[in-house]
């Protein structure tokens, strides 16, 4: 019996009563959940007003993609809260991860002319070649959210992934060029702000916050659906900033820990 196995066995013995209690509690929970879902409408026949919602969005808001129509118009206020959740989470994780380190510690370590472990040439060439197409794809997904599957959240994550790819391709050196933290923070705040401004615009130019006050255009064209397109772009900018900020902060940790 190896030392590792002994530790594992000891840990399992310590977990004994807790595991038993958990198994009983989860069995009870499973029974309750199964009981609850057995009362739902049968699978495949939803009772919600799906077709009515789709028609409203297509004919009144000129949004071909009903999912984004719901997200940025019917539930626009919820999405305002949702993107603020993301904003606050990015803020929260940076505050947590920056806690207890000098304000310029990362910059000093970066400037300490210790280049990170060199990545393979193939990875760098491949990564560099992919950054451009990935950014184009991200912008496409953000700006066509009202026509095809996609939208601000999905496209924003793709854009942030493009920045992460630049990091993977060039390690920290490229990241310093592509992704200065201040720019990422400003991007995050700008997107969140833009959404809030469109929400206020509804109050100024129409009767209610987030009212779709822009010209609606023709269904199926790029410039259509009014504020749905604008809000999708605002969210795209905000998500790019937030995800890139979270990734930057987590990657800075490897820098701090790895070079100590």
């Amino acid at each position: 019996m190896s030392a590792g196995a002994r530790t594992r066995a000891a840990a399992r013995a310590r977990l004994g009563p807790r595991t038993l209690l958990a198994a009983l509690a989860l069995a009870g929970l499973a029974a309750l959940v199964v009981w609850a879902v057995s009362e739902l409408t049968p699978f495949g026949t939803p009772s919600g007003p799906a077709n009515g919602v789709v028609k409203t969005l297509v004919f009144k808001r000129h949004a071909a993609n009903a999912v984004n129509g719901v997200t940025y118009d019917l539930r626009g206020l919820d999405t305002l809260g949702e993107e603020l959740i993301l904003f606050v989470a990015a803020l929260g994780s940076s505050v947590l991860l920056r806690h207890g380190r000098e304000s310029d510690e990362v910059e000093r370590k970066r400037a300490g002319n210790e280049p990170g472990p060199r990545t393979a040439d193939a990875l760098r060439a491949y990564g560099t070649a992919l950054v451009g197409p990935l950014v184009v794809l991200g912008v496409y997904v953000v700006t066509h959210g009202h026509l095809t599957p996609g939208g601000g959240f999905q496209g924003g994550v793709i854009l942030a992934a493009g920045l992460l790819l630049a990091y993977a391709a060039g390690q920290v050196v490229a990241l310093e060029r592509v992704e200065p933290t201040t720019l990422v923070e400003v991007t995050d705040a700008t997107g969140a702000m833009a959404y809030a401004l469109v929400a206020v615009g509804g109050l100024v130019f129409a009767s209610a916050a987030l009212y779709n006050f822009l010209p609606l255009g023709t269904t199926g064209q790029l410039l259509s659906s009014g504020t749905i397109l604008v809000l999708s772009c605002a969210v795209g900018v905000e998500v790019t900033g937030a995800v890139a900020l979270i990734l930057t902060e987590l990657l800075d940790q490897t820098l701090l820990v790895g070079r100590e």
Binding site: A11, L15, R18, T19, A22, A23, L26, L29, A30, V33, V34, V37, L40, T41, P42, F43, G44, P46, G48, A50, N51, V53, V54, K55, V58, F59, A64, N65, A66, V67, N68, G69, V70, T71, L74, R75, D78, T79, E82, I85, L86, V88, A89, A90, G92, S93, L96, L97, G100, L147, T148, P149, G151, F153, T219, G220, V243, E249, L250, Q253
Partner: protein
């Protein structure tokens, strides 16, 4: 088997919670929480599914009169995914700080240290 999707959701919920309870590493625990949350995606999408329905995206080949799956629950699922991403980000940041402070990421050891 019309209840199968609901049973999958229930299974994901229970097995994810089981993982959280028996977890021995904080990163593992965070990922198990992700499994718990993915049960809600399955449940939401199952609630809105319509047999033979189209994706709720109108195009020249899909007229607005054809049957659609429910776009509202799909939008809710989108919200759900965003919330999970934020929760995972904050929890991972907390994990990093816990590891810095206690020198371990084993939740049981953290409890012992606090006494």
């Amino acid at each position: 088997m019309s209840v199968l999707p609901y049973l999958v959701a229930a299974w994901l919920l229970v097995i994810g919670l089981w993982g959280v309870i028996t977890s021995r590493h904080l990163v593992h625990m965070v990922l198990c929480l992700g499994v718990v949350q993915s049960s809600t995606y399955v449940l939401l999408l199952a609630v809105g599914y319509r047999t033979g329905g189209q994706a709720p995206i109108v195009s020249s080949s899909v007229p607005p009169s054809s049957p659609f799956v429910d776009p509202i629950v799909q939008a809710l699922t989108l919200t759900d995914v965003v919330v999970e991403a934020t929760v995972v980000a904050v929890l991972l940041a907390l994990t990093v700080q816990a590891h810095k402070r206690f020198g371990t990421a084993d939740p049981n050891a953290l409890g012992a240290l606090r006494g």
